[in-house]
Symmetry: D2
């Protein structure tokens, strides 16, 4: 066990850090000004992407990247600190083609896609030319247990016919979104974990309608949409992977999505602490910088402690993924989902308080971080579902020795 | 960065685990029965110590151990998981001669002791034959800032004459305690960080009086005492280290003491979770095992998450100590002091609730863990002091880039 | 001491409850649909206001209402439960002319306005025909300590000339807003509590510019604006009350505003609990209604306990206001500010979790309640300022008897 | 609704306050010194009791006191603030014959006792001459659901024969304890709420054995014992009330016991805040009184806010009891059980932190308050049981109007 990154990893962190500071962060206001006016990315994005790719900072979140695919293949652990740097700004991951929901979708296509599917969808994704979405969550069922998903996928001749309703489909509302991976029930009579399939539905397919954007807390950071699929027809060659494997594939994808979400959130937390610290020096009340008040000090110091702990657990999870895959990291993925969402929420809450009226306004990233953090305790499975899972993974008895800890006459 | 212990370390963990399970834990009730009746360790302790030493499980917490001294020299990181195993029972560290306050005292003697001092005090300590105490905390000043210590050490001829009052002096009330390291002011005119010295005072020196035991929350897990020193005279050769270096030496010792305290607490937490989990299966209410209630599940799962995060930060701190000494680990030592004390407190609180009336009783280790955890938020410096330190270590501005995160016209 | 409302008060509660249920609540969706489309209140508002007035449910929040003014004069305590009913919907208070910021402004004009000022501004306010705003908070100073306000009010001939910048000025952005009460420094050399005055500035006065709306967490529930005043000239007859009395008047106004805000928030909390309870029955997960999970039960039950406690403290505060005015209720006003904001935040947080993705969406009032509750911990003075005040009001020693509680030899 | 106590009540509060301050509190150290040495009350207790009775401050907690019984009959609401004053010291209620478990036992005997039972047990209790205990909780079942109690009460001729084991039986270990009210199963075939009876068992009855004291967190504030009943034989005339009514009687008794426990805890909290405030002035750290640090201020101010809220809910509960009996106050009794235990715990936790090492020691009442507060979250039913009850009392739907709060197309 040791806590220093490899020289290769440190060099990448340094390179990304410099690029972020020199080229990305200084364009943050321009990004916001442009997108809020035009609803689309500003022109400078293309140049930044090209530069990132030139510097070897492209497709960093794909441990299964092949040599003939563009980008730099890294382990999950190598990617973790890089994702944290990108996570400082909600739009920075796009520069590196490391943004959700595209990366987990690329991962799925890489693993389960046919040659044709890869050519048609994975290649442009790897080039950063298109967006895609993953259609799992449904409004009418508790989607936290994905076995509840009930969109129907019916075979009809050489086609699938899909009917259902989805919401909180991140990316579906992005102007460049070209395709949707739809999870639905293909075999209603199969066991609950074997009845779902994933089908590729190109945007524009008749019957697929974007009903509305679905912002979280009134803000749209995710290009999330509510969709209806009415009699949507695609050829059976659009099946991704095996029939009936949809639940398992969805769980695997969710694992990656959750872990990346956690990694990026570490960077958001770093920014929040930095802003609190700056405010502590810059703002005066009752005749002193507010950083001289012990309650402000406590808020900042506790945030740092909690963040360091969350960071280490995220790193360990990435390492477990590298060592043994999703199965080896199952407990830790649930752990970081809960731990990071809570840490992010607690830190964002403190940042609002330390920044006061400014923290409530849109003049800093604090107010939108506050609601993003809150949403994270629901997204990727509400905390309660992960806690339930973790309880079940807790061994009931360790080699029969509990009794020795009891000093009275009675057992537990 | 990687999260697997070395084979050497894993082998030691395995060896200690087996010894703990086979030889120590099964004697737990006997230990309690004997000590509560006789106020002293049961006869089997000597045999356990001999066996531990035979197995190479002796003096594991002394990274500066010399080859000619008894025991196995380990790094802090190697020691950490071993200390956690020992920490499952309050008395288990004694078996391995790894118990407080002796280990940090050995560390001090090793580093600063003269040849004579080592022969007289360190050698029997390394053999596990005596106890010692460290006399810093005073009731009349906020000892959390050690510069406040005001016991006086006055030169008189070839002697020092010491006057003062100390309390919460762990170990001083142990029947085998032979010596006290007293921190006091030797040069009242020096700067606050350069006025203290540490002097060796053998128990039994005239004028040194144990006024009373000082239990925490009515329980004495630490053999802690209140002491008065009235005109206590020792030769100047009893000075440990340099004159005026007392504050620095005390801080260094506290670092080790805090880290070991944190390591052991990890093991206490493991036991608490194990007992909660056992209770969740074994106890029924409203027609079901209480482990089927989601609030009980949440308590257990959250405890595990928090513990894993605390554990990783403790390991990282140990690694930093190995890499760069106390200076390199300064922030992390304050972090784990706060994080572990809070984690331990939260887990113990939940364990009381899950065990109910049994958790309140003395029939399980839960009730005394609950108060020990609470005391930990005061001992080794109250949380507030460490948070203050951490705030001060938080950089004010990272390369001037905060402004780019602000989207309005105003700065922080 | 007794906890039953008078028959008169109960009859009013009953009347308002019926009106709310029959006439207001069923129009809630229509209200939202209309305002989100047109940015202004729907036509049915006028009829609702007329009906409320006809039923004697008009101007209920003005304990100093005169007999010749329209509406029903009530005590603060009588108003409290009515305000809580209105508070169930953000727009309902408007129906009863009981909405912020108009009511505290009416209170100020009633108390300090000249005959002409009352005729010009109070009379149409009492009729519910105009809106007004109160311009205190400034972006560049910690306005939580109102003595920091630094907008300048300079005499020039028969006029005042005002320069400054304000933000979070609730109501200023409402289409019907006709007037702004500006707090500024009129005598820079006076003591910090005697240097401010309040001056009436009609909207449209040259130099008064609404720079932008200032939503909280991206949402505008308050018609809040950022304003600049550049060389704004009004006649000296626009002074409200005495010169130099601005700080005291502002504090008095804040008291009323805070208390009403707290009263209304009780109603928001009632709705949140009701929605959680409905969801607990209506939503299934893992084969059961989620209300059968103990953690969901705990969230709902704790919310009810906390709300009942907050409600009683709000009622007591209202009673103290009635009995002895703002001076008598000083402590309690600070207490409810903190207690209600925290209770509201905690309940809204739980409601988000229980409603899941739906709680994050805009399909329920939960997500906007969540951010409104969070903002409340900043608005009307951040918690920290009130806690500081409360600490200072805590007596240091009660008749010298602390010593008797100490069992050792030492004092505190 | 009004928040001022009647003149009669205020006069009693004043009288009790004076007596407490002048006669009881100054003897606190002497009480502790004597009881810790002799295990029994000091001689001055008798004189204090006589004086309290002379002043009309006797048996204040019995709303059903008859005119021919000694003491002053008060309503629950009148008693509440008096109990809070007594609650400042654990032993003070004894002076007024208002201590647990005797008062709830008197209440039971008053309500359900036969003429003979009253003469034998109630009369000496009313005189403060004996102690009694209530034997409900059993170690082997979740006694939080009293229907689980399984001690057997078997008819045998004219006798009952009782077998079972009880623990946490407060008062049973008091030297003056003369009688035990035993709850057990008299009709195993009856429904779970109709199978228990309560039987009077005099201490000293053969087969009734006090196995051991059962301290909570190592301290015995309650004279609590573990008892075994083996073939214990008493005449059937020792049945209290009806056969099969034991569960209902036990619940009724618990209601009173819980409410009184809550009332007294308010006084404990007052003392803790007073001690924190004194420490804030008296202790210096980093060059200032610790009361100048904002985190210490926050801890004290928050404690006051929480206490005021808890106090009002306790008062309201007492008022409901007076107005409509236990049925009317059912929700509120569960509410205060949870709210007061949590408030007391939170305040005691802060007091430990503010007092530091002194708060951990036995030199102040803080450390024992800390564990007493923690135990309160278990005693009288763990929080979880009360929260479950409260959830069930929360109405599912208020007149069908939830739907109007929803703005989307979907229901909850």
């Amino acid at each position: 066990m040791q806590f220093r990154f490899s020289d290769k990893s440190l060099a990448l962190q340094d390179s990304l850090e410099q690029f972020f500071r020199a080229e990305i962060l200084p364009r943050n206001r321009e990004w916001h000004a442009h997108t809020s006016k035009h609803g689309a990315a500003p022109p400078f994005l293309a140049a930044l992407k090209a530069e990132a790719r030139k510097r070897g900072l492209w497709n960093l979140g794909l441990p299964d990247l092949r040599d003939d695919q563009p980008g730099t293949r890294l382990t999950n652990l190598e990617f973790a600190p890089l994702a944290a740097i990108m996570g400082r700004l909600p739009w920075a991951p796009i520069v590196f083609n490391c943004n959700a929901p595209n990366v987990p979708n690329m991962e799925m296509l890489q693993k389960f896609g046919s040659v044709d599917q890869k050519r048609q969808w994975l290649d442009p994704l790897l080039e950063g030319r298109i967006w895609t979405a993953f259609g799992m969550t449904e409004p009418d069922v508790a989607s936290s247990d994905a076995r509840n998903i009930r969109t129907s996928i019916r075979k009809d001749g050489a086609d699938y016919v899909i009917d259902g309703r989805k919401w909180y489909i991140s990316g579906a509302n992005h102007p460049d979104c070209k395709m949707l991976l739809v999870v639905g029930v293909i075999d209603p009579d199969a066991s609950s974990a074997a009845k779902h399939s994933v089908v590729i539905v190109p945007m524009g397919t008749p019957g697929l309608e974007i009903v509305r954007p679905v912002p979280a807390f009134g803000r749209d950071r995710e290009f999330a949409a509510e969709l209806v699929l009415r009699n949507v027809r695609v050829p059976q060659s659009n099946l991704l992977g095996e029939e009936g494997a949809g639940f398992a594939m969805g769980q695997a994808r969710l694992g990656v999505a959750r872990v990346h979400h956690c990694m990026r959130s570490l960077g958001s937390c770093d920014v929040l602490i930095q802003l609190m610290r700056g405010r502590a020096s810059g703002r005066r009340a009752f005749g002193r910088p507010i950083g001289e008040f012990a309650n402000v000090q406590d808020m900042i110091a506790l945030s740092r402690i909690e963040l360091e702990q969350a960071r280490l657990l995220v790193y360990k999870t990435a390492w477990l993924l590298d060592e043994g895959g999703a199965a080896a990291a199952r407990r830790e993925i649930s752990m970081i989902k809960v731990a990071v969402a809570r840490t992010f929420s607690a830190i964002a809450d403190r940042a609002v308080q330390v920044l006061g009226a400014m923290g409530v306004s849109d003049d800093t990233p604090v107010s939108s971080a506050y609601t993003a953090a809150r949403a994270m305790r629901i997204y990727d499975g509400p905390d309660e579902v992960h806690l339930r899972t973790l309880y079940r993974l807790e061994p009931d008895e360790v080699a029969g020795d509990s009794a020795h800890y009891l000093l009275g006459e009675r057992g537990l």
